[in-house]
Each structure stands twice: as C-alpha cells, then as structure tokens.
C-alpha cells in the first residue's frame, strides 16, 4: 500500500491567505481582488503577495482611498455574480464605510427575502502590540459579530487562514475575514513562531463555524481566538511544567459561533477563562459567558474569568499599551487564579 504524502511547506499566515486567493482565482474567473495597495505592493500586511504579478491589474485592483466607494462596488459586483475579495487595510477604518458594510453588505440578502446573494469577502487587518495608536490597533470583531448577516472569521495560524479564506471565497454570504497583524508572520514585526507553519500546497477548506481544540487539557478551558490563541498555547506549555493542564478552544469564527465545542470543553474542565483582544464590555467575552450561563452554570467549579481590553481606546506608549493588552503574563495569572 502506498501512502500519498500531501505536499506541505512552512509558510506565513500572510502567504497562506494570498495562496488561497490565488488558487480560487485560478479556478474561478469571477474571483477578483481590490483594495488599497493590494497591487504591486502586495497588501500592507502581505495578504495579496504576488497576486498582481500573476493576475494583473484587471483582477488585482488598486483603489483610491475611497472605502465607501470600493466596498460598495464590491457589494454591487457580488450581487451580479462576481466573487470579490475586498481589502479594508485596517479594520479601524470601518468608520468611513460602515454604512456599506452594515446596511448593505449585511442586510441585502435578508431584506430581499433571500432573493439576492452577496458572495463577497471583506478582509481587514486587526490588532495591537506595536504602538500604532488608537486608530490603528483595534480588533472590533465583536462590533461586526453583533450585526446580523455577516459571517466573521478570525484565524490564528497559517493553516486555518488558508482553509478559511478558501471557504470564505466559496461562501455565498458576505464574510468578514479579520487577520491579526501580529499573527501574519511579517518580517518587520515581532512574531510568534506559530505564525509560520506547515500548510498544504493544494486548495483545501476549513469549515466556517467550527472551532478547533488547539490544545487538549483537563483543568482549565481557555476560549479565545486570533493572536491570543498563540499566546495561550505558549502559556499552556509553560503551565504544564507547573502541573496545570490547559485546554484551548480556538473559536476561528465568531459568526457562526461554535457553542458546542465551548460547552463540551467547559463541561470537561469546569473552569473557564475567556481571552479576547477586543474591548471587554458588550463583546465576545460576555457572549461566551452567556452561552455557559444559559446552558448550565453549574458546569463551572469557579466563577468564570474574562481577560479582554478594559474599555479604553488602545494607547500609544508601550507601557500603556501592554498595560491593557491580554499578555501571556496576564493569561497565566488568570489561569492560576482559577486553579487557586
């Protein structure tokens, strides 16, 4: 019997995204890319690396700084059957184009009674940690997840980024694909080695709406996503040496939310820490708490803990910024607290 090896190689999250887009573009002429600096530059965070060289200016379109215009144009093109992959450079810039996103991209399918489809991907960089200040460091996924009608995907590693991007492009719904700058594997930013990993060369999908057990454990469940998964994995390795067994649920998407995987894990460990780099109030951490509380609060041996950005804008100076971010140290302390 011969075992067929699936060819993989180690690539960054950014490269994995670009590769998924390229494979879909080769397979489907309706797929095209537009956004600021997605052309020869390859995307400020590498999400469109090499696409311009292969597909040219017709299918990889540099836009003016007109987010309402080109995101709206993406919606229109999607309605007519194309499959646009549109980049909003930083998710923080949502403010200038939110009407197209929330009142159009998200609602058209529903408003039309299901008659109109909007099969587009809106991708945007998120996250803090390198002193980019209050207007370039937010996560904001909770803001979008709150609005019915948008799938919200947030990968934590190269494999998922590729598989989720492929699924997002093939999805008949609008998908917001938020990638953390600190998990892109960029050469010019401090990175966790987990931002470079084995990824199959061929196209494959990761189903949107299925969380992953990033690590199995028995004492404490950490429910998290994005870069915080990488931090949590580091912490779990460190705490294992201290005799604490941590299970990590990587949500991978907020909408749809994989409640079952969260509940199964909490039922097993009885202790829950929710880690989120988004703002604390009215967001993901509260949502996960509600899922547990509504199902069976007696699963918890101890009150759950939330670790998120306290409700302040992201400050510039490093001491201030790291004062409010969910760092490894704070994650470890919260886990130990739950075990105390």
């Amino acid at each position: 019997m011969t075992v067929t090896e699936i060819p993989t190689r180690r690539i960054t999250t950014a490269k994995a995204m670009a590769e998924a887009i390229a494979l879909e573009m080769r397979a489907d002429p309706d797929v095209f890319v537009m956004g600021e600096d997605v052309g020869p530059y390859g995307g400020i965070f590498g999400s469109t690396t090499d696409l311009f060289d292969e597909f040219g200016a017709d299918r990889v379109i540099d836009t003016p700084i007109s987010e309402t215009g080109f995101i709206g144009a993406g919606i229109g093109a999607a309605i007519e059957g194309l499959r646009p992959v549109v980049e909003l450079m930083f998710v923080d810039f949502y403010g200038v184009c939110m009407d197209q996103i929330s009142n159009h991209m998200a609602k058209i399918h529903y408003e039309s009674g299901g008659a109109v489809k909007v099969p587009m991907v809106l991708m945007a960089a998120a996250g803090a940690g390198y002193s980019d200040g209050a207007q370039h460091s937010q996560c904001l996924w909770g803001t979008f997840a709150h609005l019915p009608g948008i799938k919200v995907v947030v990968p934590s590693n190269p494999y998922d980024a590729k598989g989720l991007m492929t699924s997002a492009i093939r999805d008949d719904n609008p998908v917001l694909f938020l990638f953390h700058k600190g998990a892109q594997g960029l050469v010019w930013m401090k990175k966790n080695p987990r931002s470079i990993a084995d990824v199959p060369e061929e196209a494959f999908t990761v189903a949107i709406g299925e969380a992953a057990l990033a690590r199995e454990g028995t004492d404490v469940t950490i429910v998290t996503l994005s870069l915080s998964v990488q931090h949590s994995l580091d912490v779990a390795e460190q705490l294992e040496a201290e005799g604490i067994s941590v299970e990590i649920v990587d949500l991978r998407s907020l909408v749809p939310l994989d409640r079952d995987t969260v509940l199964d894990s909490v039922a097993k460990t009885g202790r829950l820490l929710v880690v989120d780099e988004d703002y604390e109030s009215f967001g993901l951490t509260g949502e996960i708490a509600a899922v547990v509380a509504e199902t069976d609060p007696t699963m918890l041996k101890k009150p759950l803990r939330r670790l998120a950005v306290p409700d302040v804008p992201i400050p510039y100076a490093r001491t201030l910024e790291y004062g409010i971010l969910p760092t490894r140290e704070k994650i470890a302390a919260a886990v130990k607290d739950l075990m105390a």
Partner: protein, 359 residues
Amino acid sequence: MAMGSASTVPVVDVATAGLRASIDPAGHRPKEENMNSPNRLDLYRGMVRIRRYESRILQEYHADKKPAWDIGAGLIPGEMHLAAGQEPTAVGVCAHLEKGDAITAPHRPHHFALAHGVDMNAMTAEIYGRTTGLCRGKGGHMHLFDPGNHFSCSGIIAEGYPVACGQALAFKRRGTDRVAVAVAGEGAANQGAFHESLNLAALWNLPVVFVIEDNDWAISVPRSRSTATASNADRAAGYGIPGVRVEDNEVEVVFEAAGAAVERARSGEGPSLIEIHTLRLWGHFEGDAQAYRGADLETVDERDPIPRYATALLESGDLTEDRILTIAAEADAEVDAAIAFAVDSPVPAPEDALLSVFA
C-alpha cells in the same frame, strides 16, 4: 487668486518664471499688495528646522530597530510618516497663520506642527511616548493634540477636513477672524469626507483653507491610478470655491498662494483650496522599501526643495554660506535638546492607560 472653474483652472508654474513670479496668472494680486511679504530667511530657517527634525527622528527611529527590524521595537515604536520634501507646504502656509488659527493635520503631521508653533519638546516627548508628551503618551506621532495652538491630527485619511470645518464654524459664530486650515494628501481628496467638507464650507461660507499636499503617491498608489482629475482646483470649482494648483514645490510660491487664501478666509469671504505639487523625499512610512516607485526615486534628490532654495537665496544675496551653517547648527541644537528632553522624561505607568476615557 482667481475663482477656479473647470475650464479655467489657475495653474501656477514657476519652474520657468523664477522664484519671485506672481502666483496669479489672472494678475489680480501684485506682489506689493501682498499682506505679508515673505521674510526669506525665516522661510528658509523654518524649512531647515523641519528637515533637521525629520532627519534626526529618522535616525533615532531606526537606531534601535536592529538587527531584526521590528516596527514595534525601540524608543520610538509604531508607524513613522516623515514629511521631508514637503517643508515648503507647511512653512509657506503657516507663515500666514497666527496664534489662535487652527490646523487639522493628517498622519504625516510633524512639519505642520512645527511650523504652527507646537512645542518641539512636548511633541517629541509624545513621539517617544512619555508623560511629558503633548498627550502623555496616549496619542503618538499620528495623534498630536495641542489645544493651545488649535492643532490636531487624525490617522484616518481625510477625517481632519470636517473637523476643520467645525473649528471654522466656531470661529465664525464667536465673531472672531480666526481661520482653520485642513491639511491632507492628494490621496485624501478621493474620500467622501473631503467632498462633504468642501460643500459644507462653501455652503456656510466658513473660514477654511483646504491644503492638499500632492506628493504623487498614496503609499504605493500613484495619483494617476487614484484620481480622475489632474487638478483638485477643478474639484474646488465644482463646489463654487476658489482653487489653485501650485505646480512647483517652492516655499515662496506656496507662501503667496496661501496668503491669498488665508486673507480671504480671515476677511469673511469664505473657503478656498490650494493644492501643492510637493515631494515625498522618503518612504511612505519608515521601513518602506519603495520598490513600487521606480524611476521616480532616481530624481528625488535633485528635486529636494531645500538645497534649491538655499542656492536661490545665495544667488540673491539673502543668504551666505556661513549663515547656512549657523542656521543648520541652531536647528540641530534645538532638535537635540528636544530629543534629550524626551529621552529623559518618564515613561507612563501602565495603569495610566485607564485614565482620560471621559472628561
């Protein structure tokens, strides 16, 4: 300054006409009647001061990001957009401003901040993220706020335009003759906020001067691939306000164009727009390899406006070689002192992050 219209856009081109050329092709404003005739030495000094500042920040920014370049590392972390090459814009415009006039600047703000009198020490300390900074370390280089000088920035493209309109509205309602200047790049002129602001300012006859710094590039996207019109003066015409495009990156030409616009705003005649064809001498942000820039990059040094102005002033006798050295040395001393002040200032305590969310 003539009223712009789609067919007759006043275009200033002094490349052939020399530095002292009248900026108004319609001939409305002879030089002698200009409210403030330029102090050439001040203009030169102002530009050198900015250039020395940007050059030292450039050095300091990169100094501790080695060997593996990391944008978040070092004494000055984060994005860094420097304005070398664009000094004529800030110096030419701000020469007409008074204390109390407002400026909204974009992500590339240092030149306008310095030219408008923002304290160099406090601004530098902010860039270093210190408690003595303009914003106590919360803002950073893209978010410099100096209420005393009515100076603010936004890192969101074009979003300073509406704010300038609001400041102008306040100045007008209070019966003052203050002026608000909205500054942004040519890339920003494709954003809705720009167009909405031009209309508002025209409709309400607000004392605003819209300044567009056309440095040919919006990150990697050249103007030709972002903008359907050759001149934003055309767009001003579309909103019924005067617009000029200053084709040359010369401080005295900017000075003259800005003089007319500021005077118009100050005397209650309403808004106008100046687009200046300037130069981005360096990368969009530090760390930008500029591979996209091609042949454009080969001639940037020749187009540097400061040596050119120095040469012109040497020829006209307004400047001597000795003076050039003293001006540079004075600028260096001021900048070094500001950097020393910043470096010696305390770093904010982590818990201070929780302060100032509400008044």
